[in-house]
């Protein structure tokens, strides 16, 4: 009763094509954004921002990127960590070489470089499909990390081999580096993620997104109706890598502060893939939900025993944590293989009819 359109009252094409056709959705999104921008920075403490919210935003960004590739274009990729590393290292190079460059511009340029790298590693996708492609993309993961480890130029020949975010200002406020406050970094990350989520949402409704989905569902059929599979797949790889690259840059510059290639290991690739699958393949909302689940679950598992007053040895707790993480993933896949986004969709369908289900 509360949550529905009560019929088709659209009188213009613009209304028909709106992103959020239901009024309540629009209010809710607006309220959530206002809350996230205006209220959260004031009420959240340092721990909450640094341990939960900032990584949540960053991994949402990476998950959106991977979701475009896996969920919309149907190209399974395990190279996410590598592309994130490209973004991070390129931002480092750019911002140390041009100290006056706006950090956001550096992020975007690094994203473009990552997109270029993604293009190259996307080339095999024309011939290789499915798991073969997934393993082939592992080549990018290992090769890129090796490159960033071996070639000293990428970390400016420093002895430790780590890249550290230098302090950079924007509108007179320190945004990156050790002196930047968590609130500022949170706000910057949030702004970037919101903008790119909106872009992604519109991308997948348009011509590009539709051709991705056609290729995903059956690439030969897509080819026959006039979609060029090579360009479409490469486009998916490039745009996905752009998102991942920006996410990687944010990971170092807005969250960790400094990092080695270890931060972009194969585990990160798997984690992002988990987010996409648990959140829901082919859903932008799902990317956020999945990121929240995967970022939140370990934190919950670490803190939960203390709430119940159960103390146990640290290594036993670590093992139980890993086991629970694994079983939760299996459990979720069994209960809802289409992800959290599908659960939300089902709820929405029910709500639309409630309380008169006939």
């Amino acid at each position: 009763m509360l949550y529905r359109e009560t019929g088709q009252f659209k009188i213009s094409y613009a209304a028909d094509q709106s992103v959020f056709p239901i009024a309540q959705d629009r209010w809710f999104i607006a309220a959530a954004l206002a809350f996230a921008f205006l209220v959260v920075p004031w009420i959240a403490n340092e721990y909450m921002l640094q341990a939960v919210l900032i990584p949540l935003l960053i991994f949402s960004m990476a998950a959106i990127g991977l979701n475009l590739l896996v969920g919309y274009a149907g190209q399974l990729s395990l190279g996410t960590g590598g592309f994130m590393a490209v973004g991070a290292y390129m931002t480092y190079k750019l911002t140390t070489a041009f100290p006056d460059l706006n950090i956001i511009v550096a992020f975007l340029l690094a994203g473009l470089v990552a997109a270029g790298v993604g293009l190259v590693f996307g080339i095999p996708s024309l011939r290789i499909k499915g798991f073969y492609l997934a393993v082939a993309t592992l080549a990018s993961q290992f090769f890129l990390l090796w490159l960033f480890n071996k070639v000293a130029w990428f970390y400016n020949y420093n002895s430790s081999g780590t890249i550290t975010a230098p302090p950079r200002e924007m509108f007179g406020v320190v945004v990156t580096g050790p002196t930047a406050t968590a609130e500022v970094r949170y706000t910057v990350a949030l702004s970037i993620v919101v903008v790119f989520a909106i872009i992604a949402k519109n991308l997948v409704r348009g011509r590009i997104g539709r051709s991705w989905m056609a290729v995903r569902d059956m690439d030969i059929a897509a080819e026959i109706i006039g979609i060029r599979p090579f360009q479409t797949k490469l486009m998916a790889f490039a745009i996905s890598s752009f998102y991942c690259g920006v996410a990687g840059a944010m990971l170092v510059f807005l969250w960790l502060g400094s990092a080695e290639t270890e931060a972009f290991s194969i585990n990160e690739s798997f984690n992002v893939l988990f987010m996409v699958i648990i959140g829901g393949l082919g859903s932008i909302l799902g990317s956020f939900l999945g990121a929240a689940f995967i970022v939140g679950l370990p934190i919950f598992l670490t803190n939960a025993p203390q709430w119940f007053g159960a103390a146990m040895p640290i290594d036993l707790q670590k093992h139980i944590e890993i086991m629970l993480f694994g079983s939760m993933i299996i459990f979720f896949l069994i209960v809802e293989p289409h992800g959290l986004a599908r659960l939300w969709q089902i709820t929405k369908q029910k709500l639309r009819l409630w309380p008169f289900p006939y």
């Binding site: 399974l76 011939r127 393993v135 030969i220 896949l333």
Partner: protein
């Protein structure tokens, strides 16, 4: 001038090295072959499960680790070697039952990627469980395989490596016979082809899955013994699964001989590249060389060396 010397370094000098020191080259090749066999052992487990259930079982590496941990753990409790081996096999069978009962049964007819993800979840589960029960320290594994070195025609060989190669060969032969000539082997292939059609002609899917996961567990145990005896039983064992992946795509996901040949190509290629070309780029190229090799190879044969031809219809 510099360019020419670069070309020389890349395209000429390594080959000159190879020819002028044939014995060293032979040693490199043999070391590669033996490493390759170890890779093949891990890759075999993947192939078995993929053939029979279409599941890309990422947990194979964790199963290798778990099997080896169980074996070592039992031996530390004072169980004799043979009994410990049987015990480890029994544990892997129980694991197969559990996987079928609690995971696969609920995921019939799901997308491949969902099953793949579930096995990654399983990887975490097995790792956590194994280390919780048996501890996470590095353990030495010694079940009495000789490891003396000796020389044949100036080439240094190690008995242990030969033993590993031999047991790999035996394992493959047994599996090949099992798949081609036994009733259950044929049933396995039928299931691999089409779950529902196999069920329709009366093949019990559950039994087949338990069987094949048990066999994969057994192969994992053999791989675990070999790797464990070589480098100690430790967490990093589960990472060799990543090394088995390029072997798999090179050989084809569905082919037992492919896993072996792929393993040999990767093993030898990797060693040669590392020793002759590695120094040019700063070394440690072993990490990614296998993937690049497999990637380039796939461009020409997308289904791998021995994989079933991929036929696409609209």
């Amino acid at each position: 001038m510099e360019f020419i010397s670069f070309l020389n370094l890349v395209f000429v000098a390594p080959f000159v090295d190879m020819v002028s020191f044939p014995i060293f080259f032979a040693e490199v090749v043999i070391a590669g072959v033996l490493t390759g066999i170890m890779y093949s052992l891990v890759a075999l487990g993947f192939v078995l499960i993929f053939k029979a259930s279409g599941v890309f079982n990422f947990a194979q590496g964790a199963m290798v680790l778990f099997a080896a941990l169980t074996l070592v753990g039992l031996m530390e409790l004072g169980v004799p070697v043979l009994a410990a081996l049987l015990g480890a096999v029994a544990v892997m069978t129980v694991l197969a039952f559990a996987v079928e009962r609690f995971m696969l049964r609920h995921l019939i007819n799901q997308d491949d990627i969902i099953l793949f993800m579930a096995t990654i979840g399983l990887t975490f589960l097995i790792q956590g469980f194994g280390e919780m029960v048996w501890g996470s320290n590095v353990k030495a594994l010694d079940i009495g395989i000789p490891s003396e070195s000796f020389e044949v025609g100036g080439i240094l060989l190690n008995e242990f490596d030969l033993f590993a190669a031999g047991s790999g060969a035996v394992l493959v032969a047994v599996l090949a016979v099992f798949f081609h000539y036994t009733r259950i082997g044929r049933a396995l292939r039928a299931v691999a082809d089409d779950h529902q059609a196999a069920m329709a002609v009366g093949i019990p899917l559950k039994t087949i899955w338990v069987t094949v996961w048990s066999v994969a567990g057994f192969v994992g145990l053999v791989a675990g013994i070999m790797w464990g005896a070589k480098s100690g039983v430790q967490f990093s064992l589960s990472l060799i699964a990543l090394k088995a992946l390029p072997v798999l795509i090179l050989g084809g996901f569905t082919s037992v001989p492919g896993a072996i040949v792929g393993g040999l190509i990767i093993g030898v290629g990797e060693k040669i590249a590392e020793i002759y070309w590695g120094p040019l780029v700063g070394g440690a190229i072993e990490n990614w060389f296998a993937y690049m090799l497999a990637l380039v190879f796939l461009l020409f044969r997308p289904q791998g060396l021995f994989g079933e031809r991929i036929i696409e219809r609209v």
